[in-house]
C-alpha cells in the first residue's frame, strides 16, 4: 500500500507521467509550473520533492550521457514506479470523489462559481 502523496508530490508524479521518457529536472519543473498554476513552484522545491519520492520508492532515476548544451553534464531522468502509479491513481480517485460530492451538493452552482468573473471591489470615494 503506497503512502498517500501530498499536493506537491501529486504534481510532480503527474509531471513525470505526462513527460514519459523526457522527464528530467528542467522539464519536470516546467510541467509542474503549468500544473500548479496560478501558484508558482520553485526548482528547489521540485528537487526536494523528487528526492522524497525516490526515498519512498515511488519513482526511480538514472543519469544520461553528458550533453554539450549543458556544458558536458548529464541529465538525471526519472521514471514512475508501480508504487508511484498506484499512489497517483489513489490521489486522482480521492480528488474525483471530492469533486463528485461537491457537485452533488452544490449542483449547478459549482459550475457557476467556476465561470463567475473575479470579484473586483470598487473603492468608495
Amino acid at each position: 500500500m503506497p503512502e498517500p502523496a501530498g499536493r506537491h508530490e501529486q504534481i510532480i508524479l503527474t509531471a513525470i507521467l505526462s513527460l514519459r521518457d523526457e522527464a528530467y529536472g528542467v522539464t519536470i519543473h516546467e510541467k509542474a509550473v503549468q500544473l500548479s498554476a496560478p501558484k508558482s513552484i520553485s526548482p528547489g522545491a521540485v528537487y526536494i520533492t523528487l528526492d522524497r519520492l525516490e526515498d519512498k520508492g515511488l519513482i526511480s532515476s538514472w543519469l544520461s550521457d553528458p550533453t554539450p548544451e549543458r556544458g558536458g553534464r548529464s541529465k538525471r531522468f526519472y521514471r514512475l514506479e508501480a508504487l508511484g502509479e498506484r499512489a497517483l491513481e489513489e490521489s486522482a480517485e480521492t480528488a474525483q470523489r471530492v469533486w463528485d460530492m461537491v457537485t452533488e451538493i452544490w449542483g449547478g452552482f459549482a459550475e457557476e462559481v467556476r465561470r463567475r468573473p473575479k470579484w473586483s471591489p470598487v473603492r468608495p470615494k
Partner: protein, 218 residues
C-alpha cells in the same frame, strides 16, 4: 545573449552543491541560464534546498541521536574526572554541549558532501576528524565559553573514539551495502524503525537546546 554562466560563478556553485547531485543540478542550472543575475538568484534558492534534501537523505536520525548522546556523555565524563568543581556551575552543562554540537554538525555535513562513488575504508571517520578540528578552532576563539584544555582534549579523544566506533558499526547510509534491484533509500526506509524519523528526533534536540539556552541565560 550569453550562452552560459561565468566560469567563476559555475565554480562556486560546483563547490557548494553536494557531489552526489552535482552533475544534474549544475546541468539543469546551465540549461535554465538567462543571465548572471538570474543564475545567482536560482543558485541562492536551489543550492540550500539541495543541501537540505541531501542531509535528509544521508542522515540516520537514530545514529545521529546516539552520536550526540555519546559525545555529550564523553565530555561530561572528562569533566567529572579532571575538573569536578566545574560541574557545580550549572552553565558548565551548556558549555559542554558546544563541542558535541560542532562535531555533529560537521559530521552531518561531511556525510551530505561525501561522494557516493568514492569508497574508502576510513570514510566514516572523516566527518568526526573535521568536527574535531572545527571544535578545536572554536574552542581556541571562544574565551568565555571555552572548556579547560585538558577537559577538551580528553572529551574530544573519548568522543572521537565513541563516534568512530558507532560510525564503523553503523556506516553512513550512502556507504551501506545495497540489494541488487532495490533503490538505496527505499531499502533505508525498510530498515529504519517506522516511528522514529528526523522530525521526531528534532524534538529531544529542541528540548536540549531550550535547556542549554536557559542555562546560558542563568
Amino acid at each position: 545573449m550569453e550562452s552560459g554562466p561565468s566560469k567563476i560563478g559555475e565554480a562556486v556553485a560546483w563547490w557548494l552543491v553536494p557531489p552526489a547531485c552535482r552533475e544534474e543540478i549544475l546541468g539543469d542550472m546551465r540549461e535554465r541560464y538567462q543571465g548572471p543575475a538570474r543564475y545567482f538568484l536560482e543558485a541562492a534558492h536551489v543550492i540550500p534546498c539541495v543541501i537540505h534534501s541531501r542531509i535528509c537523505r544521508t542522515t540516520d536520525a537514530v545514529v545521529a541521536l546516539m552520536e550526540a548522546v555519546s559525545m555529550y556523555t564523553a565530555f561530561l565524563m572528562a569533566t567529572w574526572w579532571l575538573d569536578r568543581a566545574m560541574l557545580l556551575d550549572a552553565r558548565t552543562f551548556a558549555h559542554l554541549a558546544i563541542p558535541p554540537v560542532i562535531f555533529l554538525a560537521a559530521t552531518i555535513l561531511a556525510d551530505a558532501y561525501s561522494d557516493p562513488q568514492k569508497r574508502r575504508p576510513l570514510k566514516p571517520v572523516f566527518g568526526p576528524t573535521i568536527g574535531f578540528a572545527l571544535a578545536y578552532i572554536v574552542q581556541a576563539t571562544l574565551n568565555q565559553w571555552a572548556l579547560s584544555p585538558s577537559v577538551f582534549a580528553w572529551g574530544s579523544a573519548l568522543s572521537f573514539l565513541l563516534v568512530s566506533t558507532l560510525r564503523l558499526t553503523f556506516p553512513p547510509i550512502t556507504d551501506r551495502p545495497q540489494a541488487a534491484n532495490a533503490p538505496a533509500f527505499w531499502q533505508k526506509l525498510e530498515l529504519a524503525p517506522p516511528s522514529l524519523s528526523l522530525k521526531i528526533a528534532l524534538l529531544p534536540c529542541g528540548i536540549l537546546l531550550a535547556v542549554i539556552l536557559y542555562l546560558l541565560g542563568k
